[in-house]
């Protein structure tokens, strides 16, 4: 893809990423990283870096939307995130030290395992610890 086609595709795919973000409580990186590597052709490192910059405004917009609906505690979430920022610098430095192919396999294995567990829990209908 190049020029206008690339940017139209990016905006369209962005809408899908945004829906996933608001819906699932994640920034959409699990969709954006594979899209940027497989469809746009970025390296694994550039895709991850760019994904984080997509995630930031998505997370802000999603958080504000939830806050208007009275879901969650944004103040607690931000304090929690400031602690997480320490980990994120360390994680990015580790990623930059790894080859792209290794990083991609780590990415695939991790989200595959998490996905299997969540899908299993949902299908079995295991109650959340707080119930609802």
């Amino acid at each position: 893809m190049n020029g206008p086609t690339l940017y139209v595709s990016l905006v369209a795919f962005g809408v899908l990423v945004g829906v996933a973000s608001g819906l699932l409580g994640v920034g959409g990186g699990t969709l954006a990283v594979p899209f940027l590597t497989l469809a746009v052709g970025l390296s694994q490192h550039a895709a991850e870096a760019t994904s984080l910059l997509v995630i930031l405004p998505t997370a802000i917009a999603g958080s504000l939307a939830l806050r208007r609906r009275g879901v969650g505690d944004l103040g607690l979430a931000l304090r929690f995130g400031v602690v997480g920022a320490v980990g994120s610098v360390l994680g990015a430095l580790l990623a930059l030290a790894l080859p792209g192919s290794t990083l991609r396999i780590v990415f695939a294995v991790f989200i595959g395992l998490v996905g299997l567990r969540l899908a299993r829990d949902g299908i079995r209908g295991e109650p959340d610890s707080l119930g609802s």
Partner: protein
Amino acid sequence: MCFAVRTFALDPKLIAIGVAGGLLSGLLGVGGGVVMVPALVLWAGYGQRNAHAISLGAIIPISIAGIATYGVAGEVRYWDALALAAGAIVGAQIGAGVLARIDERLLKVVFGTFLVGVAALLGAKA
């Protein structure tokens, strides 16, 4: 002062989950929700919907730190990110509206199936 300290204080479990989520975020270029949401639900005892909301807010400072680190290394593609983000902001409003009234079990199945599909796709191309 004591009150101010107490209001900023975090449960040690939240500190551990935040650091772990941040590590995954920086390492994998994701928000970190893939580890923070399950940990908040299964370990810290939050309901699925609250865990998603807290995770989404935490991703704001976490992603800023990751962007700065990758930015110094010259890996961030700003125009690609701008185009994706423009669409994503519109989509996020739609998704958040659904989250406020969705079935939590359905949310787990959708989220889980989605992640497995992405993993298979990446594994095939690695």
